[in-house]
């Protein structure tokens, strides 16, 4: 009975169970994947009549020649580089500290995790107010350190930094939880063994905790990079429906949104989605290759 082979009858029955999910995913996941790859090669697409003028690389050439797209890629990369390493390091440190705490540890976990469950749009409104150049908290606090008021949301030199700070704050809790789970999974025996061998706290940290935590660190970085590549909601809400002052916060997904929703250039938007896909794929492959060499499972 255990090693039963599938039969036509058992397959038909399974199909009934799979059917609801299959219908929806084929229609709204599988087909759209094929369709958006195809659409990225459309020439002169007419949305209303569904007429396609032919296939070609025009849309990718358009992206190649569009300074806005270059800006979007650049901003996205800066955003990823600004958010991910800081988030990984900060959340690791906080997780290590929380792991040492017994009293109130539940309370602290709740607090650190709170931003994760809150609506990005709602909290971006709050940050918009925090960043207010005259009455905002940020400039008020910075004033204690003698920093002159900064136009966080209207100065193109600072607006991407404003977005990065908010995103780090929002994403910390999620990663702290993952690190805490990882720390919990480390067998206490390793620490005891290291202690018997005369390793001090710092040595135990470098030679036990860090290597055994590397799968989580890897996971958190991959998740972080992929998530940050797709940043959109924060920008739309923080800059009230604009890509920041002087397009300083224009990212790839924001570009996709603009081409698609405000300029009706569907094929160009689809092409930018394809570029996003390959960028993410590239990062994932590089990380998989790297982890095979350096991550200890």
């Amino acid at each position: 009975m255990i090693n039963e082979k599938p039969t036509i009858k058992s397959s038909l029955k399974a199909l009934l169970y799979l059917l609801p999910m299959l219908v929806i995913t084929v229609m709204f996941n599988i087909w759209p994947i094929i369709s958006s790859f195809l659409m990225s090669f459309y020439k002169d697409y007419n949305f209303y009549t569904d007429e396609v003028g032919g296939l070609g690389f025009d849309n990718f050439l358009y992206l190649w020649n569009d300074p806005d797209f270059h800006l979007a890629v650049r901003n996205t990369l800066i955003f990823v580089a600004g958010v991910v390493p800081t988030t990984v390091i900060l959340s690791l440190v906080i997780a290590l500290l929380l792991n040492q705490i017994k009293v109130f540890s539940g309370f602290f976990r709740t607090v650190y995790f709170l931003p994760f469950v809150t609506s990005t749009v709602a909290i971006a409104m709050v940050w918009n107010w925090i960043y207010h150049s005259d009455y905002g908290l940020m400039n008020y606090f910075l004033g204690f350190f003698g920093v002159h008021p900064i136009n966080w949301l209207t100065n193109p030199h600072y607006s991407l930094l404003a977005l990065i700070i908010m995103s780090i704050w929002k994403g910390l809790g999620f990663n702290i939880i993952l690190f805490l789970v990882g720390l919990n999974n480390i067998d206490k025996g390793y620490y005891n063994a290291a202690e018997i061998d005369g390793a001090n706290a710092l040595q135990r940290f470098w030679n036990v905790t860090i290597p055994l935590l590397s799968p989580i660190t890897f996971l958190v970085s991959v998740n972080g990079i992929i998530g940050s590549f797709k940043v959109f909601d924060q920008i739309f809400a923080l800059f009230q429906g604009t890509p920041g002052p002087g397009k300083a916060d224009l990212t790839i997904v924001y570009y996709l949104y603009q081409k698609f929703y405000t300029e009706y250039k569907y094929p160009v938007a689809a092409a930018s989605g394809v570029v996003l896909f390959f960028l993410i794929l590239l990062v994932t492959l590089v990380q998989m290759w790297y982890s095979r060499k350096h991550v200890h499972y």
Binding site: Y17, P20, I24, M39, V117, L137, I177, L256, Y261, A269
Partner: protein, 273 residues
């Protein structure tokens, strides 16, 4: 002595971090209870002279927030229940039934999880406008009625229950359907709760998709409505903060009650990545 000192230092750092995490929330609450002149006091005040609860009523009535609220509740609950239903059935098939092409289908679906969801927006929008569903609840709900991520998580949970129970149930003459709903689902309650809560949070906070598929004011969900409200509220930050508060509050309450499931869900979902 040194040990005690390091303990104090430890708590000091953790507390400082916690305050940093809380400040935006406190600032939001504080502002939401101020008068307009109080919001622009320099240096800022944290506790208003008299608490302006009226700001909440004013914000609620200045935009159709009641309608947004109903929309969000409808979309979130139908999406969550529907997705759970399709996922439980599919996860059962993957966990217990034998069928041709099982591995192939599974691998294809795993592959689709790598595709950024933002890529699917354009074709899905085209499909839904051809079906005449744009600006209806259907557009907000139907594309999300299946999630391979949920199927994957549930399959894992189903597989971890003893297979012998399945054969015993069949021996006793129970149908697969009955086994699924009276044995497997109750046994996997904690995982099901975890994916449900994560789905509720995700649906409630979703922004880009509802922004794209709704045109009329009456179809907006809370986050989209809140975003639109900024144009009306302008610089009345006390009203904006009151509105932000009532968008955030339901999920915070949910989180307070179901924290352990959310965290379990994240560790499960995250760890198998």
């Amino acid at each position: 002595m040194a040990k005690k000192l390091s303990k104090i230092l430890l708590y000091a750092i953790v507390t400082l971090g916690a305050i940093t995490m809380l400040i935006p929330f406190l600032w939001m609450l504080s502002t939401s209870l101020k008068t307009a002149p109080e919001t622009i006091k320099v240096p800022p005040i944290w506790i208003p002279k008299s608490l302006q609860w009226g700001n909440y009523i004013k914000a609620w009535s200045e935009a159709p927030f009641a309608r947004y609220f109903v929309n969000s509740v409808v979309v979130t609950s139908v999406t969550t229940v529907g997705q759970l239903f399709t996922s439980i059935l599919a996860a059962f098939a993957f966990a217990r039934l034998k069928f041709f092409g099982k591995n192939l289908i599974f691998v294809i679906f795993l592959g689709t999880m790598m595709i950024p969801g933002e890529m699917l927006i354009i074709p899905n929008f085209v499909t839904l406008s051809k079906l005449g569903m744009i600006d209806h609840y259907a557009a907000l709900i139907v594309p999300w009625l299946a999630s391979f991520f949920t199927v994957f998580t549930l399959r894992q949970a189903f597989q971890s229950t003893p297979e012998q129970i399945y054969y015993a149930a069949k021996m006793d003459g129970a149908t697969d359907w009955k086994y699924l709903w009276t044995v497997l689902v109750p046994m996997s309650k904690s995982t099901i709760t975890a994916v449900t809560v994560l789905q509720v949070i995700g649906s409630w906070n979703a922004f880009m998709w509802p922004l794209i598929v709704t045109n009329t004011e009456t179809m907006r969900t809370l986050p989209v409505g809140l975003q639109a409200f900024t144009t009306d509220a302008g610089t009345e930050y006390q009203l904006l903060m009151a509105a932000s508060t009532f968008v955030i509050i339901p999920m915070v309450i949910l989180y307070m009650f179901l924290q352990k499931y959310i965290i379990a869900g994240i560790s499960k979902a995250g760890l198998k990545g």
